[in-house]
Symmetry: C2
Subunit: 341 residues, 2 copies
């Protein structure tokens, strides 16, 4: 059985990458300055940041492959303008590609998108296509709120998003729905904005009819689906009140939750109420919560421990760890099959 972590970010990228970003942001105040070039980063610098962090944790925790994307909180689509977002996104994705090339057995790429508030989502199609076709990435992170906590974009079920969904369907890649940093002081990024976005997206899918128009579209809602599994009765009841079909038909053929829930009771609930086929192993490491849980003596985000502790058949664990990810990410499956995995 392969252990595939569907949710990992390059939160430990070399300083030079952030310095490029800093120069980008400085130029917002001095538009006549020359556009900065993406950082020159050596393979050794990348090796150091990966081997001391994500790769070390993979080995320590016993996972095999991480679907690896740029740091989510740093996407910051609300900062600067479309050109800034395009250049930053390209640099971030190129860096992921270098990690994948250095450690092809351990990481598979998932891309950031060059979204920008008020800019048509069609402008993100090119980067998705580049990342999938040229860089070999297998999915993307789609931000439902490029404004960073002001929620000015239309709901995910609006036709606004359809040009992007058409490309996702054509390329047969899923999207993780993932907001970035919050510039609204009401919302702590990882403690409120992330979880709220997960909950919000799910409810939008209940209200809409997106999967009638795109029956093959697939979304991962991270962080265990936000509040949804805990309130599963509420969502079943709301679907009924809104005269929508049952969730199993209406939403859950197309929507999947990861296991980024940082305690055993939460994972127990997730597996109790959500069909096993809709759950993908994920840890978000190195991510939102980096400490050790004093109640267990283990890292909060070592989510594999919680899955391992479940009293479910081994075959169900294999679905969570491997088979569901291979089904949701067909291009990952193709990569693995080419390696006889």
């Amino acid at each position: 059985m392969l252990i595939i972590d569907c949710h990992g970010h390059y939160t430990t990228a070399p300083d030079a990458h952030q310095k490029f970003r800093d120069r980008q942001l400085a130029r917002l105040k001095d538009p006549l300055a020359p556009a900065p070039q993406a950082a020159q980063i050596s393979d050794d610098e990348i090796r150091e940041t990966i081997e001391n962090n994500q790769l070390k944790l993979q080995k320590a925790r016993g996972s095999d492959i991480t679907l690896f994307s740029p740091r989510a909180s740093a996407m910051a689509h609300h900062v600067g303008d479309e050109a800034v977002s395009q250049a930053w996104t390209r640099a971030c994705n190129d860096l992921i590609k270098r990690v994948v090339d250095l450690y092809p057995e351990n990481f598979v790429g998932v891309c950031q998108l060059p979204q920008s508030p008020g800019v048509p989502i069609a402008h993100s199609v090119g980067e998705l296509e580049r990342c999938v076709k040229e860089l070999g990435f297998v999915g993307c992170n789609l931000n439902p709120d490029p404004s960073g906590g002001h929620w000015t974009a239309p709901p995910l079920t609006d036709k606004h998003w359809y040009p992007f969904y058409e490309k996702m369907a054509e390329l047969d890649v899923p999207a993780m729905i993932h907001v970035s940093a919050s510039c609204n002081p009401n919302f702590h990024a990882t403690g409120a904005h992330y979880i709220n976005a997960d909950t919000t997206a799910f409810m939008q899918f209940i209200e809409g009819d997106l999967f009638r128009d795109f029956p093959t579209l697939r979304f991962i809602i991270p962080h265990g689906g936000g509040a949804v599994p805990y309130h599963w009765g509420r969502y079943r009841g709301l679907a009924d009140m809104l005269k929508r079909p049952a969730l199993a038909q209406h939403v859950m053929k197309n929507v999947f939750f990861d296991t980024c829930v940082y305690h055993q009771p939460g994972i127990d609930l997730l597996v109790e109420v959500i069909d096993i086929d809709n759950i993908l192993f994920g840890s978000e490491m190195v991510g939102a919560v980096r400490g050790i849980d004093p109640q267990t003596g283990h890292y909060f985000d070592d989510t594999k421990r919680y899955i391992d502790a479940l009293s479910i058949p081994e075959e169900d664990k294999r679905r969570i760890y491997e088979l569901n990810a291979r089904r949701v990410f067909p291009r990952l499956d193709a990569i693995l099959k080419a390696r006889n995995l």
Copy 2:
């Protein structure tokens, strides 16, 4: 043992009350029209709406007393201006008072506040005082987002809110943190906005130091605390990462969750991870989800069934059903004691 439902709304108010609201809203487009007067509603009209709904359900489900407040989604603080919000709020609270007077053994009043976007919260102090001192209400519903889904107010820990907290402390009344309707198409009211607000408020309390300044302040976060119990490990971990004290000391002396979670696994999780002393029985009835769960044959919002089914000592159930509510709402306790309850 008394069964006290800490979360009930007058969602079934007589039509005349809504017609008053409609006239208010019509006047927004025709400011020269005379200000409408609150509706003339007979006792019989009130009796009919209560006896066929909340009172019938109280009896059927076996609860004794409901802390009763105006319909939350109709507060709509974002509609109109401060004068509109003041007049509507007063009419809503006066109607609650009439229900309480007709059924003093079954309902105790909790007030709506005349909040308005951009208006100082000090302007809500007078109505709180009127409701508590003149109408005998025991708590209030505080909206952290009077903009209705645009989140333009400062966080609840900001000094913006302090004049109101001072009055809450002086009167020794708690607030339920409860948003209203959403005018942001991203957020379905009861499926996203409510739950997001609950999660958001909790994270604000972690980030801030509100309870150092107001050690006796008490908040109920409804809907089972939003996403918080499901992600309890995340919140414990974030408090640690942010160098805040442990949640038990930093937040949970002052914050309580209700049981408006509409399925057994959610209630099981709530009681497993949250201290019993922080859980108050609530049903939100007649509320967000009104249907019957096909999996159980019972109403989704008959939350008493889920508590009754818990394998916990009777004394713990009494804390959830009665004792915690009496502690969090001292003015309720005083009313009950005056009745030798």
